[in-house]
């Protein structure tokens, strides 16, 4: 067993290499989804493709980090990887998550022998398909979602493979960005190569070869210890995505989670069959979400490597909404199914065992808004994939975060200044939603409202959102968060209407290729988080702060929290005490 201090140092060095690659990517990529949104991850794999370390960037990509590299290496054959090669892959049926996310893998050689692999997963904002931004809510087959690449060489021996590049560039709507973004990924990987080489020079091949399995064992032991502290048993719950863009019916994810000593079995066998629309996820998406839900509650400080996942088994039968079969579409699985599973695991299942570590439901949708067209200023084609901040659920001791991207994504919003500089929209509102957060002893975080007007002759827009019919739930007596609204006001109209009312889309929140014109305005109200605990137990001082901050209105302070404010803004203590007693008795 190597020295534990050395193990800790080595682990940190591996993670630092991943983080340095990530910073290089952020600084050199062309698209805002990378520069601003940080929708990517970097990883180091051992010679078998097992995860050694990853940068703490996008947890939604955990499943790919664990499975995709291994499967790609298996698919291609490890001996096919030569020095200077980079393989690209985005096939959800061969270990990918959804097609916009591309895995790039390059081998790491030292002293003439392959020692492992470096990888990156990046969400490329435009990869062709039936809608700009490659989120085709009306797709019914994978072929409509963009260009699907099985593992193929993008770089061979340090030189671009022109055949692969030309196919990609010809099929993506914004080839300049494809060129810039993929080269940013390749450049970042080459930085990782140099740093890993220096690390091997520092410690030597033998010491690292001996240490990596010990790092895996250490993480596994950590997780098994934490799992052992939980009560054995099977815990079940369900949640749903409210429609698939075609049928006005919910699709249920049903989970039975068994704790048996030091292992966890997560079984989704009772989930609904796969949907016709794009809300399905492949196995790695379900795995990512499951791991994220578990790691939010158990072993959150544990080093993330292949060993940490050994005690967890996941059963997700093929042909269900949690494991789509070819050629079912699945672009929405990574963005909509993931938050649903994550909350199901932590907020409905593990909260039955350790409620103090869990949270109420978050807004639960990435609020995907995609658009593209010819920019009136440049004359060039543009496309953008935008995700939006939502409210997170209240936790045992703290309120939910306001206006944060879904918890599994760890991404950032695109600032208005960047948004309006790059794309022909003008914002008239971008603000938090007062009274949106689910009432509770700790309050749900607030979603946002964005209103923006088209500043071009035409913009083609698509959306893929959820939680417009089913509210983000509260926990332990907490109230629900406000639901999503995605509306449009045609130029000259006075009212905002749903896209179904204005354009006849089947679903008001899942549609593709709607043509907006100059002067049309879009209103997005993202959902807020659920509350935790009875609202009348929220300290009066916190309610007052909420009112002063504009997060809660005077009327809702009274109705939800039982805090009665006088005309001078002061608390009517007698009336508050009486009202809170009534609310607690259920008569308020």
């Amino acid at each position: 067993m190597p020295d534990p201090v050395f193990l800790k140092i080595l682990h940190s060095q591996f993670v630092n290499i991943c983080e340095e690659m990530a910073v290089a990517m952020m600084r050199t990529a062309y698209s805002p989804i990378f520069n601003e949104g940080l929708d990517f991850s970097f990883l180091i794999l051992d010679e078998n493709g097992d995860l050694v370390a990853m940068a703490n960037m996008n947890p939604a990509m955990l499943g790919q980090a664990l499975f995709s590299g291994r499967w790609v290496i298996d698919d291609v054959g490890a001996d096919e990887f030569e020095p200077g090669d980079v393989i690209v892959h985005n096939d959800p049926y061969r270990g990918g998550s959804h097609m916009p996310e591309h895995l790039l893998v390059t081998p790491f050689f030292f002293d003439g022998k392959r020692r492992g692999f470096l990888g990156t997963v990046g969400h490329v904002a435009e990869i062709g398909g039936m809608a700009p931004g490659s989120f085709s809510s009306n797709a019914t087959e994978i072929y409509q979602e963009g260009l699907r690449l099985p593992p193929v060489k993008l770089v061979r021996g340090g030189k671009h493979v022109q055949e692969t590049w030309r196919i990609m560039l010809a099929n993506h709507r914004t080839p300049e960005h494809t060129w810039g973004d993929f080269n940013a990924m390749i450049g970042a990987l080459s930085i990782g190569q140099r740093r890993l080489e220096a690390l091997y020079e520092e410690h030597g091949v033998e010491q690292i070869a001996e240490a990596v399995p010990s790092l895996f064992d250490y993480a596994e032991a950590w997780m098994r210890r934490d799992i052992s502290e939980l009560a054995d048993g099977t815990y079940s719950a369900e949640d749903c995505q409210e429609d698939d863009g075609f049928a006005d019916r919910p699709y249920f994810i049903r989970c039975d989670l068994t704790i048996a000593g030091d292992r966890v079995i997560v079984d989704y066998s009772r989930s609904d069959e796969q949907a016709r629309g794009v809300i399905n996820g492949p196995y790695v998406v379900t795995a990512s979400a499951t791991y994220n839900g578990i790691f939010q509650v158990i072993g959150s400080e544990c080093p993330i490597n292949a060993g940490a996942f050994r005690p967890i088994d996941i059963i997700a039968p093929a042909g269900t909404v949690v494991n789509v079969r070819h050629p079912g579409p699945c672009v929405g699985g990574q963005t909509e199914l993931q938050p649903r599973i994550l909350d199901l695991i932590q907020g409905k299942i593990l909260s039955q065992i350790v409620p103090e570590r869990c949270a109420a439901a978050c807004g639960g949708t990435s609020c995907n808004f995609l658009f593209g067209g010819i920019h009136p200023r440049t004359g060039h084609y543009y496309a953008h994939y935008n995700f939006e901040g939502i409210g997170w659920g209240g936790r045992r001791t703290t309120d939910g975060n306001n206006a944060q991207i879904v918890p599994h994504g760890n991404c950032q919003n695109t600032p208005l200044e960047v948004f309006e500089t790059r794309y022909p929209w003008l914002h008239s509102e971008y603000r938090l939603n007062p009274d949106g957060g689910g009432a509770g002893r700790t309050r749900g975080g607030l979603g946002i409202t964005r209103v923006m007007t088209v500043e071009a002759d035409e913009i083609v827009v698509s959306a893929l959102c959820d939680r417009s019919k089913v509210s983000p739930w509260g926990v332990d007596g907490g109230g629900s968060g406000e639901r999503l609204a995605f509306l449009v006001r045609r130029d000259g109209d006075e009212e905002f209407r749903t896209f179904s009312e204005a354009f006849g889309t089947i679903s008001p929140t899942k549609f593709s290729n709607v043509r907006l014109e100059r002067g049309d305005a879009v209103l997005l109200r993202s959902p807020s988080g659920g509350g935790y605990g009875p609202p009348w137990e929220r300290p009066v001082a916190h309610v007052l702060e909420d009112v002063a901050s504009g997060f809660v209105s005077v009327a809702r302070a009274r109705a939800d929290y039982g805090v009665v404010l006088g005309t001078d803004g002061g608390v009517d203590e007698a009336a508050t005490r009486a009202l809170r007693e009534e609310l607690a008795r259920g008569v308020g």
């Binding site: 049926y93 270990g95 099985p150 099977t234 079984d267 066998s269 996941i314 093929a318 070819h326």
Partner: protein
Amino acid sequence: MAWVEREEPWYRIDVQYCEVTGQLLPRRYWEFEHEGRVLKARDPHCEELFREYVLARRPETERAQT
């Protein structure tokens, strides 16, 4: 029960799934028998999971469909 090497021509692009967990089956997969039926799994751990968990937990009717 045994390891099986999947020998498929390069132009076949369809995939197969582990019949226990739903994971993608690698080129080399684990095959085992249960009540006269041959099941394809990712590795021996999946067979263990099948015998310890799936058979123990699921009702008979559901097991038959597994």
